[in-house]
Each structure stands twice: as C-alpha cells, then as structure tokens.
Symmetry: C2
Subunit: 311 residues, 2 copies
Amino acid sequence: MVAVDLGGTRMKCGLVAADGAVLHRETRPTPREAGGRAVLEALLETVVELGQKAAADGHRVRAVGVVVPGIIDAATGTVGAENLAWAGTPVLAELKAAIGHDQHVILAHDVRAGGYAELRQGALTGTTNSLFLPLGTGIAAAMVVDGSLVSGDGYAGELGHTRFVNGEAAELCACGQWGCLETVASAAALARRYGVRTGRVVDGSREVLELLAEGDPDAEAVWKEAMAALIDALVLYTTLVAPTRIAIGGGLVGAGETLLAPLREGVTARLTFQRNPEIVAAVLGEEAGCLGAALMAWDSVTAEESGEQPV
Amino acid sequence: MVAVDLGGTRMKCGLVAADGAVLHRETRPTPREAGGRAVLEALLETVVELGQKAAADGHRVRAVGVVVPGIIDAATGTVGAENLAWAGTPVLAELKAAIGHDQHVILAHDVRAGGYAELRQGALTGTTNSLFLPLGTGIAAAMVVDGSLVSGDGYAGELGHTRFVNGEAAELCACGQWGCLETVASAAALARRYGVRTGRVVDGSREVLELLAEGDPDAEAVWKEAMAALIDALVLYTTLVAPTRIAIGGGLVGAGETLLAPLREGVTARLTFQRNPEIVAAVLGEEAGCLGAALMAWDSVTAEESGEQPV
C-alpha cells in the first residue's frame, strides 16, 4: 500500500507490504509557501505517482494511508492544519476522487498514526491503557484507552495545548491560548526560549541539549521549566486516564535518560493513589507516522475482508 | 435485580426490574465508624436480605450491582476507598461468596455507574464523547470516549484530583496532593472555604449558595475561585478528549444557571480550535448510582444470554 506522512516541510512516503516491510521510501518537499491548494495538489500527485510506481513494480495497491498534522473532522473528512495552510479542506474527498473507489483510503492524524504503530509494533505493544507523546516542533498525544486508540471524532489528544504555565510566565501559543505545554516543552520552544533568554540564536533543541550537557546555566533554566511542565502534564494524564506505560517520542527523546530520568522521578514523587506508569522512549522514531498510516490502511482492508467494519 | 449504592454515610438500595422500574427502595446506614470489616459485613447482609425480600415477593434475582466511592482494581476485584475504611479489601470475592455463583455480580465505581445511567437514560443519551461530572462531597468524573465508558482498569476519571490551584493558594487534598480541583470546587470545599474565610460555620454548600444569592461578598469570592478552577478543568478535558456534551451533577448543580451559565461562558471564552461542548445539568440526581448499578448488572446478564462477554 501507499503511505504518506505529510509534514509542514516534507512528505515522507513509502510503499509498504502487509507485514510492515517497507518496499520503497522517498521524501518530497511540501510546498507550504505556495499555499494550501498547492499542498493538496502535491499530495494527490504523490499518491497517484506512488501507485503507478507500485503497479510498475508488479504490486497491486490495496489501500492508501495519509497522515497529517492537523484536526481531521471524522464526519466530513475535512482537515484544519495550520502547518499545511489548510482550513476546512476536503482532503478525504479529494483523495478518493484522485485514486478511484476500488482502494481504501485512510486519513489520520500523524501522532495518532504514530501511536498506532507504537501500539502494534513498538514501545506500547501489549498495553491497553497507555500514551504516546512525541516532543517535536509541536506536542500532541496519542491516547490508548481500554484497548483502543482514542479518536474523539478527530479532536482528541491535544495535550500540547493544555495549560501548564500560569500567571505572568504564560506565553501566547500559536493556537491562541496562553501557557500551553507546547510553549515551554516542545523542541521548538526550548530553542526559542533559550534564544529569548540569552540573545543567542541556537541551532534548534539539539544545541540547547549540548549546552545543557556542558552545564550552561541558561540551558539548565529552560530545561527545568520544560521538565516541570511535562511532569505536570504526565501527572494529570495519569490521574485522568491511568496509563500503565508512557512512550516519549519526537526529537527531544534523543536526550535519552537526561529527559526520561527526571520525568520518572518527578512523576513518581507527585503521585499518591494513582498507578505509577512506566516512562520509556518510543522506538519507531521518524518512521512511526508513515508506518502507522500503512498499518491502519492494511487493517482497514483486513477488517473489510473479514466482514467487520473498517476502523 | 439487587442494586446498592454504598456511600460513606448511607447505602441506597433497590430492587430494579429489567426495564429500569424500581420495585423497592430503602436506605440503610453505613457503619463507617465501626471500620472497614463492619462496612463490608453490612453490605453483604444487605445484599442477602434484599435477595430474600425479592424472592418473598415472587421475583427471581438474576444479578447484583454494587457501586462504591473508591478505586476498584479490575484485575483483583479489591477496593480502596477512604470513605469506607477499605484498603485492598476483597469486596468482589466476598460478594460472590455471599450470594452464590448462579448470580451475576457487578462491582463498579459510583460515579462511573452514575455516568452509565446518564448515558443510557439521562443527560448524555445519544453521545459518543461526553463527560458526567458530579460536584458533591468529592469530585470524580465518568468519561465517555468513542462510545464507551472509560474504566482504565478501575483507575480512570479522577479529575477531582488533578491540580487546578497553583502557588501559595494550593491546599493539601485528602488524597495527598496539592491544589486538587476537589479542594476548591466540591460542595464540601465551598462550605469549608467559606468557613475558613469568615470564621462562620455554615450548613453546607446550600447555605453558601443562599449567601451568594444575597450578594454576600465572601460567598462570591469562594464561588469565583470554584468557577475558575472548574472552567480550567472543563477546558482541559475538552482539549484532551473532545466531549460534545458535559453533564454536571451532584449537590452543586442545584444552583442551576448560577452554576451552568458562568461555566458555559468561561469555557467558550477560552477555547480556540477545540469543539465547544454543551454544558447541561445531569437529570438522574441521587438515584443515578443505584440505577447505573442496576443497568450494568442487567446488561451483563443480557450480554451473557446473547453469547457475548459480560461488560
């Protein structure tokens, strides 16, 4: 099947077999600057061309899975995604029109798709209540509750846009709210906040982590603020939904135990009556979204063939 | 069937027919002061006596539903409930031993059972993503996510024990954490906080609401603090799980629009990209828990007879 992880700067594309084996992979630019229509056309062209490539290689395409960083309204198949310049864009209908009605189309949230992959083949295998939390440019969560990945009609999981910074320290978030987790604890926020604090422009969160390792006090300060907000968020999630395992992903998890150890310690110190979740690193890395798209699409085909409703 | 809503001060008991009709109801005291063993024995005695009464009246008892204000470990059937002096108490096993193995036994969290009743026959009918939030002596939530009531192995829904008061204003909660929603926004907290603020002992939240209606400035102050924390909690829940409807229950909902209107206004003002949930009053009142226990038990019997797994 054809899988596309459509990000704000590039599309990660693949042809994936039923067992999850990747037969082909490529990356294309996302023409974000040219506007939402151009992004949609680039996506449709990519999906059609990958289908042609699969056919030329002797494969039959059964399904197409596309994941996007935005809110997909489950009732209408329209997408709102600031990073793709989409607002109410009828992506599902356009995909179906472009590829024909003999193929399944799965359109899913990138983080939920990544969570699905981690649940099926990664760090969350075997769990029934768990959380996939990638800390990248933004922060969103894939929630596994009572054995299922939560959709909330496409709206669930926006832990990055819940308030964990209060009072004068709260900054305005791109979403229009104040003090969101994403404004202090995303990879982008670390770099930005270090820059604001010191007047120095750094090369992303990677450089902040290097400075942290060298004992730079400003890097330590922004890191501690990020950790405090993350601990608040994980305690809250644990109290509300009782996960047994939390898998942290995204760019920041490259910090390894520098990230995970204080999160474990901070969460454990705060819990009283709640179950204490394991806190681990996600394992599928950047491919989680694309693999999740493929797995969702394959499962949809399988469910139909067995007479069940597609998921 | 036999239904018991076991509270910290009294047990609300009933005999309920398959269609939800209440054939008999009675209330007994909970011997909380005599300790956890006495509470358990009183429960077992009640369940047995109600079964005998049903038999004497010519009814066959098919199932027993008991709801409790505590955490029921789904794997072991043990209960931890401070209000019942229970810690790791093997309630499910004792119930099964007392009533015999030809009857279904459902042991459920009181608020989740109330939410189940509101979902099946009350304010949440027809929803697939919604929230039942009773504001009583304590605060807990029943979460409906993607069409199912969330259990989290018995641990989910503790919205009352998430932190919505920060800094020096945060008080220690009975759960051992600081600044929990329950410490400012429960019916008990309103009365207690008014008392601390004024030095006057009031007759529960009812009197605080009366003082509020009279324009008492101290009542207004504690009310505003409660509203602010509740708005924070509802915004957070909406961002994370995207309910379409929120039903507020418990004693405080007696305040009607005095409670609901500022919650609606406050939540609407804060949301940006999220779906705006309806905020309504729950409709089943104090009987929700007992009715939920009965509905759960009946559904368990029905599911078994149709060959499905009991829920």
